[in-house]
Structure formats: structure tokens, C-alpha cells
Symmetry: C2
Subunit: 343 residues, 2 copies
DNA sequence: CTGAAAGCGCTAACAA
DNA sequence: TTGTTAGCGCTTTCAG
């Protein structure tokens, strides 16, 4: 493996000149720069990452922190992760996958003390997330994918749940639906302060009340069986139900199964709209789901770009330490599961 | 941030003693070890990862190389990735996500020259995968998740496609099905030498012929629409079709939709079996899919364990440079989409 | 515009 | 059983 002094020797310059060609930290005459670059090509030289990291205190490593309890990522989260990895690679950074959920603070502290990461992305953010104060204390820059209860001063990229829910409710009510039930995530998620679950619950209540309609919400486990149970409860509470809104893909397919079992046709008898859903999942249903499409990899990509902009010396405009907070929308895609209310 | 000499000073020992306590590379008396460990606790010391990497030439970084073209990972691949990340973390390693598919050799070479990785995991392995000779040349240990055409001398973890297909065909033929069509991945995937597509194609042909049945295979794009087209072709080629076998989840849901549209009931008229499928996806269908369940995160976990065993000085038994090659099975789970052949 | 040299925080000889 | 010290391959002063 060629080292920097191999390059220097070959180019007939000093070690530091090679370094400055690489970092651009001081002007180099075109002639010597060319000689150095040529030597690099010839030797297929790439700077040693560890040496660079040790000397410069910048590792070009970013951590994607997320809990990895059960069966890994859903389609939406997987898109976040791949978008983030691609954006990192485009910028010369590397993305590491870390099993560190909202409560795994010890592992995160150890990781932080090792000075491995230039920055971190937090996924599965809870309204009260202990990782946030910890990273701040460790001095590790981070961007949330999601939001805490009080996001002041914390950069984040999140989905605009208010608007997503509003758009979904508007779509259904414009079709004449008045008996709408919202199938949310589980009680456990709601109680744990899972942002998407809580925010959509509030947004749904607001959207329905603004239309003079009762906001009926039913929680559901993230499984088909959970969806079936939720449908049963929904029908008990609203016997004349004509539409189901959901933000729980696994449960939603259970809801569809339950409707079929009861002889209720979609969308003739009951309309179904899925929120924050990837196109590939929406296409799995028959008919394909009317949904509010998740921005997918754009979320991860944007989060990485924001994070990197705070790391790059040039980007870090210390006079204006701008905290970027972005809400991305889900676009309504009317497919086959929504239709005018019956009667 | 505390450094090693802070610890040494506090414990009243030399720098190297602290280092040896950490690495265990030479015996330390219980008394001094305790003093050192106590000092570490008090200072919340963690060794600087970059310094350790530079000095020891071991980075504790593993790369997960996979193409990240379109919409990221499917459920099965996501499970591989999270399993790998969890296993890496358990062993004190870190897993990085790298966009480097079978043909992205340049990016991989640059990465390799930077000496960032202790080892690599290759996903989406093609039968003829250029990453394999490259990594060998770079001297970077790796394990395939998948197999090349000639896997001799290359460690891998893969799914036992022969057995999976055989089990699926046996399940269907035992139920009396004789008119079975296999819906595979796309023509493009087959031509590109995508292992799972090619191996299952051969295994299906073998399993059917062994039973005196004609092996009819139809390729399909990985979309619901692709599945619908595949079903149409399948019915054209085998009008009396009573069973569909598939290893293409996205297409499979299109097949289910197409069957429903034609008034063909599952499983009464047509049985459907999905291979290498995660439980969560199988549960999405109504009725839930009879499937051969993918080993999921176990694949990634095992691959990491094998990789690390070749890295650890202790594990690297150089007298027997054992190449581990593991095939994991998919267990048949009979759910709601398979039943005795009609008539 | 370029060079020399002092670290960065560790590991691993070498020496005792 | 422990200490001393020479690197690992870079970045970045300080000097010219």
C-alpha cells in the first residue's frame, strides 16, 4: 500500500506538500500539484483513513442510530437508511448502522467516547429521547429523523404529519365520508411517545373536529392480526363506518382481510387510505392502496446533507449557526381503495 | 476526552501497562489491573478508535456492500442487514453500509486502498461478481451473502435454494398439484446472473422432472404489474394451472390480484406458495401466504460471525484456514394459500 | 510557494 | 510483571 511519503518521494516534493495538495489548505503551484497528482495516480494512492482521522480529528464516519429489536426495518425506514447511505457516499462520508434506540444510552455514550463518529442521525425518535441530551453533551453533531416534543434548537427532518393527515381526511370527506375511523399504531407506541403515532392522533382529531365530525381512533398492533382486531373494534364503535384511515401498514393488510371476511367490498362499501406508505407496499394490495406516499429515501438524503453541512468547515457558518428543520410532505396518490361514500 | 496517558497517570502506571490491560496481550498483575480499570471507570475512558486503528492496523469496521439503486432494500435484505449490524455490535465491531454492487469496482478499490475496513460482506452477489477477485487482491477478508458460480475457496452464507424449491414442490405435489408454474425474478436478473433466480430455476426444473412433470417457469418484473403479466402468461401456457410457486414477493401480490380479477379463488382454485419470504410479508396477504420462511436476520448474523472469526487472531487458525460455507434452510409454513388440487 | 518537524493517541517491540 | 520508546500515516504549526 502506497503511503504519502511514497508519493512525496516519487514527485520529488516534501511530505507536507503532498498533504496540502490533498487538503487544499494552502496554495500549491500548478506545476508541483500536477506532479503530485500524477504520482498519486501512478501509485494508486489513497490516504489512509485512520491516519487521516487521527491527525485531523475528522473521521468521515456518520452513525445511523436506530433500535434493531425485532424484524429489522420496514420499507419506509429501509428507504431512509439507503437514502442516507447513498448521500453519505456521494459526499465522501460513510454511514454506519448502530443499534442504539431511544433508551440505549450507555452504548451510545461508549461509542461517543471512542470518537469514531463525526456526526449522527437518530431514527425512531421518541418525543422524549435520551439520545438528544447525551449527544449534545458529548459534542457530537446530529440530526433527527423525526422530532422530539420540543424540537427547539435541534435540527431535524421529519414527515409533515399534520398536512398528511389533513390531506387524507380532506380526500375522504370530499368523497362524502363522515364515518371515518383512524387505525393508528399500538397503545404501547402511543404511550412510549412515538412521535408519528402521537402527532397523527392529534392531527386526526383536529381535522375531524374542524369538519364537525367525531374523531374515532383505534390503536393496533403492527401485525395483520392486530389490524383485524382493530377493525372489529372500529365496527363496534362505528357500525356505519364507511372509511378507514391508517398509518400502520402491517395492520392495514389485516384490516383489508377483515373487511373481505365480512363481505365488505373495498372501495364500494368501505374506502381505505394508507398514510406514509411506500409505493411498493401500496402496490401489494388489490386493488392498489390509495395512499399518501412517503418521501422515502429523500428523508435520509436530506438529513445527511444537513448533518454534513454542519460539519464542513466552510458550511459551518459560526456567525449564524442556522438550525435547519425540514418537514417533507407525503403526496396523495389516489389508487383503487377510495371511492365516494355509499348511500 | 480522557486519553490513555490520563488513565496511566491516574493509576500510577506507565502508558503501556494501560494498553496491555486493554488488549490483554500480556499478563498484568491483578492489583495493577484493578487500579487501571478503576481509573478508566473514573475518567469514563474509552480508547480513541482512530488511534487504535492506526497503531494496530485493525479498524473494527466491517463493510456491507450492496447496490442501492432504486427503492432500497426489500424485507428480506433488510433483515440480513440488521442481523449483520446487530452481530457486529455484539462483537465490538461496526457495520458500514456501502453502495457497491457487483459492478461498482472502482468505488470499492478506492475504499479498499483507504484501509478503512477490516472485512467486508457482499450482498446481491452475482454468479460472476467482480468484487470477489478485487477484494482478494486487496487482501481484505470477506464473506458472501450469496454465492458465485464457482464458490470454491470463498466463504459464504446463502439460502439453500435447492432444498427450498424441493420442499415447495413436494408440498404442492403431495397436495395433488401437477400443473404448477414457477414465477421467478425478471429476465434481466436471470441474464445478469442473479444467483437466487438462476439456482431456483434449475432446482425447479430438477424437482419437477424428478416427478415426471413439465417445469414451466415464467419470469416477472419485481412489481405487482409484472406479477399480473406473469400470471397471464402462465395461464396461457398452462390453462389448467392449479398452483403458482413464486420467489418474487412484489410480483406475487400482482399474481394474487390477477387471480382475484379472474374469479379464481385462492386456495380453492389455485394454490400459491411463496419462497424465501419473511413472516411479516406472508401475513400481509389474505389469506396469509403459505411460504418457505427466509432465515432473515440469521443470515446476516452468521455471515458476520464467520467474517470476524477469520479476523480475530485467535480464530485465525492458520494451520487450517477453514473456509466456511453455510446454506440456511427456509422452513415451510403452511398458512392459507395452499390446499389440495381441485378435481 | 515549499520544507521540517511536532504531534494526534494508540500498539508492540525491546529492555529490564 | 512492568517501563521505555519507536513507530502507525497523516495534519498542521512554524520557518523559510
Amino acid at each position: 500500500m502506497a503511503t504519502m511519503s511514497d508519493v512525496a518521494r516519487r514527485a520529488g516534493v516534501s511530505l507536507s506538500t503532498v498533504s496540502y495538495v490533498l487538503t487544499g489548505a494552502r496554495p500549491i503551484s500548478p506545476r508541483t500539484r500536477d506532479r503530485v497528482l500524477a504520482a498519486m495516480k501512478e501509485l494508486d494512492y489513497q490516504p489512509n483513513a485512520m491516519a487521516q482521522g487521527l491527525a485531523s480529528r475528522r473521521t468521515t464516519l456518520l452513525g445511523l442510530m436506530l433500535p434493531m429489536d425485532d424484524r429489522g426495518l420496514g420499507a419506509t425506514e429501509a428507504a431512509f437508511a439507503t437514502g442516507a447511505a447513498a448521500a453519505a457516499a456521494d459526499a465522501g462520508y460513510h454511514l454506519m448502522l448502530h443499534p442504539a434506540g431511544a433508551t440505549d444510552v450507555d452504548a451510545l455514550r461508549r461509542l461517543g467516547n471512542r470518537r469514531l463518529l463525526d456526526g449522527a442521525l437518530l431514527m425512531e425518535v421518541r418525543l422524549d429521547d435520551r439520545r438528544v441530551p447525551l449527544l449534545r453533551r458529548l459534542g457530537i453533531p446530529f440530526v433527527l429523523i423525526g422530532r422530539t416534543a420540543d424540537p427547539a434548537g435541534t435540527p431535524f427532518v421529519d414527515i409533515d404529519f399534520d398536512r398528511t393527515v389533513e390531506d387524507a381526511v380532506e380526500h375522504l370527506t370530499a368523497l362524502g365520508h363522515r364515518d371515518v375511523v383512524y387505525v393508528n399504531h399500538s397503545v404501547a407506541d402511543l404511550e412510549a411517545g412515538y412521535g408519528p403515532a402521537r402527532r397523527t392522533a392529534e392531527a386526526f382529531a383536529a381535522a375531524m373536529r374542524a369538519r364537525g365530525l367525531p374523531p374515532v381512533m383505534v390503536p393496533a398492533e403492527d401485525t395483520a392480526a392486530g389490524g383485524r382486531r382493530a377493525l372489529a373494534e372500529a365496527l363496534r364503535r362505528v357500525p356505519g363506518l364507511t372509511a378507514v384511515l391508517a398509518m400502520n401498514e402491517s395492520a392495514l393488510f389485516g384490516v383489508l382481510g377483515g373487511l373481505a371476511d365480512r363481505g365488505l367490498r373495498v372501495p364500494d362499501d368501505v374506502s381505505v387510505v394508507s398514510m406514509v406508505t411506500s409505493e411498493s407496499v401500496a402496490e401489494l394490495a388489490t386493488p392498489a392502496l390509495t395512499s399518501l406516499t412517503s418521501p422515502g429515501s429523500a428523508v435520509g438524503r436530506l438529513a445527511v446533507e444537513i448533518l454534513i453541512s454542519t460539519l464542513d468547515p466552510e458550511g459551518a457558518d459560526r456567525s449564524a449557526p442556522e438550525i435547519r428543520q425540514e418537514l417533507l410532505s407525503c403526496a396523495l396518490q389516489v389508487r383503487g381503495t377510495s371511492a365516494p361514500a355509499r348511500g
